[in-house]
């Protein structure tokens, strides 16, 4: 008899807050320049 397969591991949670903050930091850097020279 085959050994029971382990249940598939759930993917790690998405770090929504961390990624959003870093995306905003990127956008802020770009917007500083765009506002100044746009």
């Amino acid at each position: 008899m085959d050994a029971p397969q382990p249940p598939p591991q759930a993917p790690p949670p998405l770090d929504r807050r961390g990624l959003a903050l870093l995306a905003l930091a990127f956008l802020a850097l770009e917007l500083v320049v765009i506002r100044q020279y746009g």
Binding site: P11, P12, P13, L14, D15, G18, L19, A20, L22, A23, L24, A25, F26, L27, L29, E30, L31, V32, V33, I34, R35, Q36, Y37, G38
Partner: protein
């Protein structure tokens, strides 16, 4: 300019970014701030997608943040996303395409990323005319894979070890930010870049001045438009009705068209790349042409008379743009269609 001429292909562009820009301009107008907002938003989306890519490779919070921070800190992505170009979408497309590949596999695996990178690098190398920066959009998935590998190494170590990659990214990249986006006034930027050992450069085998081409190409267009407006205002109303404005390249013709639109100038023409396909002037017969740059002796072969109006003073522009003379040519010696066939150049 291409966004004003929607087509299924362009001499030096793929069409997707042009179509996107055409729709964007319809929605928000053609103010530079509005146009540049789009690549900035795309870049911010890449930061999130980079982090999500790390998660797709089984990366935890640490790997996701490290990937996203690498995307923020890499000067090349900052530089690619503060002006609109077809390159603004390349990293996004790579991330989406490779993400679809990872999603199609039965388990998170990193080898497809290496294979894709190697195949594209080999194609570019074999092509013989590629630049190293063509591969820049391919790196975000690799950054994610690297962050996940680092997480497995650093996860079992102390807080200092886990903080080290973040510190290296921030401290290593911060001094390079002014090289990527113009946050320093130009008079401070030039000595700053020199102090970092950064000589002015170009990817296009052209002579450079005090600024690298990506910064030099931001200078001189307003002054050039002012000069063309001055030349245009010397024409009588009858002459203006049949006159055209001719630029030697798409930069000159595009700048004068966009900046001159509100000052009463018609759309400029050029023989360079797609401008040639957009054809000779639709109004008039081309018998009076305001000519941007070029050689007076050459112009004399094409026109019965040539008058120099003035010379551009733009010391920070690329050397081949900074000392342009604007001429007025009268009396085209050849039929317009024949003359148009001679001005085409693709480069």
């Amino acid at each position: 300019m291409c966004a004003d001429h929607p087509a299924f292909g362009y001499v030096d562009h793929r069409p997707l970014s042009v179509w996107i820009l055409a729709v964007w301009k319809r929605l928000l107008g053609e103010a530079l701030v509005a146009i540049r907002l789009l690549p900035a938003l795309v870049g911010a989306a890449c930061v999130v997608l980079g982090g999500e890519f790390a998660r797709a490779l089984d990366g935890g919070r640490w790997a996701q943040r490290l990937t996203a921070l690498a995307m923020v800190a890499a000067p090349v992505y900052l530089g690619t996303h503060h002006v609109f170009s077809m390159n603004s979408f390349a990293a996004l497309l790579w991330l989406l395409a490779m993400r679809a590949v990872i999603a199609a596999l039965d388990a998170p695996r990193r080898w497809p990323l290496a294979v894709a990178w190697l195949v594209v690098a080999a194609i570019l190398l074999l092509g013989g005319r590629s630049r190293g920066n063509y591969l820049v959009p391919a790196y975000p998935p690799l950054l994610a894979a690297g962050a996940v590998a680092l997480e497995r190494f650093a996860g079992r170590r102390g807080r200092m070890v886990r903080a080290l990659p973040f510190a290296v990214l921030v401290l290593g990249s911060a001094p390079l930010v002014p090289l990527a986006i113009p946050i320093l006034p130009v008079e401070r930027y030039i000595p700053y870049a020199k102090a970092l050992g950064q000589e002015p450069s170009t990817d296009e085998r052209k002579e450079v001045g005090p600024l690298s081409q990506h910064y030099a190409d931001m200078h001189g267009w307003q002054e050039l438009t002012d000069l063309v407006v001055r030349a245009w205002e010397t024409l009588t109303p009858e002459e203006r009705a049949r006159a055209a404005i001719f630029g030697q390249n798409y930069g000159e013709a595009g700048a004068v068209t966009v900046l001159g639109r509100r000052r009463g100038l018609p759309e400029a023409i050029s023989g360079h790349n797609n401008f040639w396909h957009w054809g000779p002037p639709k109004r008039g017969d081309g018998s009076i042409v305001v000519i941007i740059g070029g050689d007076e002796a050459d112009h004399m072969e094409s026109f019965a008379s040539v008058t120099a109006v003035d010379t551009l003073h733009a010391p920070l522009a690329m050397p081949y743009e900074r000392g342009l003379t604007v001429f007025i040519g009268r009396g085209l010696r050849r039929p317009l269609a024949e003359a148009w066939g001679r001005v085409r150049h693709y480069d």
